[in-house]
């Protein structure tokens, strides 16, 4: 799983997916498009495969995929689903 690190590391994201399942691929694509558009300056993104790292998911309290975690800036927020509702994703990342 690739780890995307940007220069401005104020935004740290973690996306849990389930292999190549359709919604997981859609979620990855949506998230990248949003980050490229709004947070190109600096963000950190980790994509974790639930099927490969079930224990990490357990640790993060993940019960379904795809689930996006905004780890920093605090507080931690999560978005559940394939991230096709861009507004909701932006609101969450903006630290509402």
């Amino acid at each position: 799983m690739a780890k995307i690190v940007t220069a401005n590391a104020r935004l740290v994201l973690r996306l849990y997916v389930a292999g190549n399942a359709p919604n997981s691929l859609i979620a990855i694509a949506n998230l990248k498009a949003i980050c490229d558009a709004h947070f190109a300056a600096g963000h950190e993104l980790e994509i974790v495969d639930l099927l490969k790292h079930p224990l990490r998911a357990l640790a993060d309290g993940i019960i379904v995929t795809p689930t996006l975690l905004k780890l920093l800036p605090l507080p931690v927020h999560r978005v559940i689903g394939n991230l096709s509702d861009r507004t909701e994703v932006l609101l969450t990342l903006a630290g509402k």
């Binding site: 997916v17 389930a18 292999g19 399942a21 359709p22 919604n23 997981s24 859609i26 639930l50 099927l51 079930p54 998911a57 357990l58 993940i62 019960i63 379904v64 995929t65 795809p66 999560r78 978005v79 559940i80 689903g81 394939n82 096709s84």
Partner: protein
């Protein structure tokens, strides 16, 4: 609220928010996997869905591929599902059918059945008929299973529906077929029972499988009683039952039909005759399965045929009796006429006044014509009685025909008719056939032609019609220039007792049997007879006969005085006669020239003489218009240059003093027409030889044309034994023989003849064939038997009264040397006696007949 409480509360709200988002995401299908909370493992949602879908697909496929219709109906009688097959059966689309009530697709009876069966707890198939939108219908077997919900309430029907239209139609067709078969059987049974013949079917053991009504009526039982019984069971007589049983068996074995006839005394006690036909009925494998029989009562037909045959036999017997009566009558009449003619001839031989001679001659002529008539009747009777027998012998055809024609010359010349005979040179000399019967036909036809011709000529032409190996078919034509026969009478003349018309009978006489006899004789010789004629212009009578060429008989070696190269002049006003003579001369390689009149002849003669190639011979007809043969001869002899030419005269009628005239004129020979080939050749040869010798031997060449009673020369006088029971005939024959210088010993039966031969010296026996005690045949056989081994042969001549039973053949068989037919004519008898004696002296063991 404490900080921790506030944190707790915020955390709870967040969790609730997350839970709601999770549910939202789940519901909108944005979730890929969930973590099973019990064993902490992730589960991919996509896989589970796939499995479900696959299971669903499997069931759908099963439902759609089954050959039965599947139909789901809810409790409200609405269709919730139907498979493709069901939709097909109902004639609608599966989607369209959903929501519709099954009752819409059923007929009245189907609706009632469905209502009755709908809520039965167990599936219970029943037949219904669906009516489709297009009006066609489908028969189906409807198996309905009720569906109940969790609470046990009725929740609709699951129906399995099978299309049974084909089965239904087949069943209907089968029913129709059996109905038709039954109807056909009824038709056949009725048909077979309404004919009067008996019709039945038997199996291999001869047991009846079927019998029609007439046969059942005969037996007096019903079909049910008859089936399974055989001929014995049905009370047929044992021998008849056996015969029929055997015949049935034969049909099974031979595989083909048989027919037969039976006589049967039916239960009613009537004798009846039946005709039956048994025919095989073949099974599929080619063996005989049954025998079909038809029996017909032919009693009536038999009776009629019998009656007809009896009547026919009776008629034939009557006809036979009539013919025999005629034959016997003829014989009875001939015997006295025999005496009349013979005695008349004897008296004519004595000194008589002119008047007496005239009366007696008339009496003789009358008796002879009576005899001719009787002969005709006798012949005809023989033919009708089927007793005509041909006696084939080898004979000289040409001589026989010429001799016959010669015999006809007298009556022809009396009427001043030319009588011509033209035998084509290819006609062979020796043939095997019945010469007597051939002569009879010629005499009859030529005689008729002479009778019905007032002026002109009568010609006989003989040619080969066909030849195959030794088989020869000769074609004879007798042509005349007489009154002719109208076309409508031409067929009639060959029928018995008819002449062209009855008036001709009155005018010309005769029995009218001659042509009938000739016709039958020609047929007997495998030929036929017919006529071509034009009234007023004459007739052509044709007949054909079959003969065999006799190669064994050698042509007599004639002394070959070569006539070749001799120039000869033929003088005759008759074209046909000139042609015949010319043909003969050509055959002999002479050089003939013809002249149609005496004047023309003289011109030819002078011219030839001037050229230095004079004629050596003139053959001239006596009777010619303007200048006759005698005048011509006179003129020739008076001409110096022509005087040494040899002249032969041919005449159709001999007048007193003609011979004297010939002699006076230096005519070399004087011959009667129709001239015989051999005779003409002979006369020419003699005349030419005499001329070359320079002597005058004219009288030698002159033929003797009248036959007087001969007086046998000393050397030929014989002692003759006469066996004859009839006193008149005894006296007649004895008188003739004694007058000729023979001595005669008379006995009156065969036994006496044999006795006389033992004690007397006898040169010849004259034997009547019909005598009491011992007849001529028996006596002849006894004599020959007695002679056997003694190297002795006494000539025996038979005297036959009639030829009813093939006497000629019997004479030869009995060992006789010759025979003579009664009535006895002096000339014939004496010639035969002399010839027989002469040939017997030459060849002791030959037996010419």
């Amino acid at each position: 609220m404490t900080a921790s409480e506030e944190r707790s509360t915020r955390d709870l709200v967040r969790r609730l928010g997350e839970a709601e988002a999770t549910i939202q995401a789940l519901l909108s299908g944005q979730i890929d996997a969930v973590v099973d909370s019990r064993n902490q493992t992730p589960v991919l949602l996509a896989k589970a869905q796939e499995a479900l879908r696959a299971s669903e697909d499997r069931y759908r496929r099963i439902v759609e591929t089954t050959s039965e219709g599947v139909w789901l109906i809810d409790a409200g009688n609405k269709t919730t599902f139907m498979n493709h097959r069901m939709a097909q059966m109902l004639g609608c689309d599966a989607e369209v059918g959903v929501g519709r009530s099954p009752f819409e697709f059923l007929d009245e009876a189907g609706r009632a059945a469905l209502a009755a069966h709908a809520q039965w707890p167990e599936p219970h198939p029943f037949e219904v008929r669906f009516i489709r939108a297009d009006g066609t219908s489908v028969w189906a077997l409807f198996g309905a299973t009720p569906v109940f919900d969790n609470t046990g309430g009725y929740d609709g029907l699951l129906a399995m529906v099978m299309d049974i239209t084909d089965r239904k139609q087949a069943a209907e067709a089968l029913e129709g077929l059996s109905q038709r078969t039954e109807r056909r059987e009824r038709m056949l049974t009725t048909m077979l029972s309404s004919i009067s013949d008996f019709a039945y079917i038997c199996d291999r053991e001869g047991r009846f499988l079927f019998a029609n009504q007439p046969l059942l009526n005969l037996w007096g039982i019903t079909l049910e009683e008859a089936v399974g019984k055989n001929f014995f069971d049905l009370g047929y007589p044992d021998d008849l039952a056996e015969q029929l049983q055997r015949q049935v068996q034969e049909v099974f074995e031979m595989k083909k039909g048989v027919t037969g006839e039976t006589f049967y005394t039916n239960p009613a006690g009537l004798n009846a005759c039946y005709e039956y036909i048994f025919s095989p009925v073949f099974g599929g494998d080619g063996t005989v399965e049954f025998v079909v029989g038809f029996t017909r009562d032919v009693t009536e037909r038999k009776r009629a045929a019998e009656a007809w045959r009896t009547a026919k036999d009776a008629a034939e017997a009557a006809n036979q009796a009539k013919s025999e009566f005629l034959a016997n009558m003829s014989h009875e009449i001939r015997t006295p006429i025999n005496g009349v003619i013979g005695m008349t001839e004897l008296v004519l031989d004595t000194d008589l006044t002119f008047e007496q001679r005239d009366y007696l001659t008339t009496a003789k002529v009358s008796a002879e014509s009576l005899l001719t008539i009787i002969n005709d009747i006798l012949d005809f009777s023989k033919i009708e009685a089927g007793r005509l027998e041909l006696v084939p012998v080898s004979f000289h055809l040409q001589e026989s025909i010429e001799e016959t024609m010669r015999a006809m010359a007298f009556p022809a010349h009396e009427k001043d008719l030319e009588l011509l005979c033209d035998i084509k040179s290819e006609v062979p000399c020796y043939v095997i056939g019945d010469s007597v019967r051939i002569r009879q036909i010629i005499i009859n036809l030529v005689g008729n032609s002479i009778k019905f011709t007032e002026r002109g000529q009568v010609e006989l032409e003989v040619a080969i019609e066909a030849q195959e190996g030794d088989e020869l078919r000769l074609h004879f034509i007798v042509s005349d220039t007489g009154i002719g026969i109208p076309p409508e009478k031409q067929k009639l003349i060959f029928e018995a007792f008819s002449q062209a018309d009855s008036s001709t009978t009155r005018r010309f006489g005769g029995t009218g049997l001659g042509l009938t006899i000739s016709s039958r004789l020609a047929e007997a010789m495998r030929g036929k007879i017919w006529v071509e004629s034009e009234p007023g212009k004459g007739s052509h009578f044709h007949f054909t006969i079959c003969l065999e060429i006799d190669h064994q008989a050698l042509a007599p070696s004639t002394e070959e005085v070569p006539l070749a190269g001799i120039p000869v002049l033929v003088v005759d006003d008759n074209f046909t006669n000139r042609r015949i003579l010319k043909e003969m001369f050509w055959m002999w390689q002479m050089k003939p020239t013809e002249a149609a009149s005496a004047q023309e002849a003289l011109t030819h003669l002078r011219r030839a003489s001037e050229r230095g190639h004079p004629f050596a011979l003139v053959v001239a007809d006596v009777q010619m218009p303007e200048m006759d043969g005698f005048d011509l001869a006179g003129r020739i002899k008076d001409t110096p240059n022509l005087a040494d030419v040899v002249i032969l005269m041919l005449t159709s009628g001999e007048k007193r003093g003609d011979i004297e005239r010939c002699r006076g004129m230096g005519v070399s020979a004087y011959l009667m027409k129709p001239v015989r080939r051999a005779e003409l050749r002979d006369a020419i040869t003699k005349a030419m030889r005499a001329r070359s010798l320079g002597g005058n031997e004219n009288e030698q060449a002159l033929p003797v044309s009248q036959v007087a009673l001969r007086v046998a020369s000393e050397s030929l006088r014989s002692r003759i034994l006469l066996a004859e029971d009839n006193v008149v005939n005894q006296r007649l024959a004895a008188r003739i023989l004694e007058k000729a210088g023979h001595s005669v010993l008379i006995v009156s039966n065969g036994r006496e003849a044999i006795a006389a031969l033992q004690c007397e010296t006898i040169d010849l026996v004259l034997m009547d064939v019909q005598m009491p005690e011992m007849d001529g045949f028996e006596a002849a056989r006894a004599i020959r038997k007695d002679e056997a081994g003694r190297k002795k042969h006494i000539p025996i001549i038979a005297m036959t009264a009639h030829a009813m039973t093939g006497d000629r053949g019997r004479c030869i068989a009995a060992g006789m040397d010759g025979y003579i037919t009664k009535p006895i004519r002096a000339h014939d008898l004496l010639s035969l006696v002399e010839n027989t004696m002469a040939s017997d002296a030459k060849v002791a063991d030959s037996s010419p007949v």
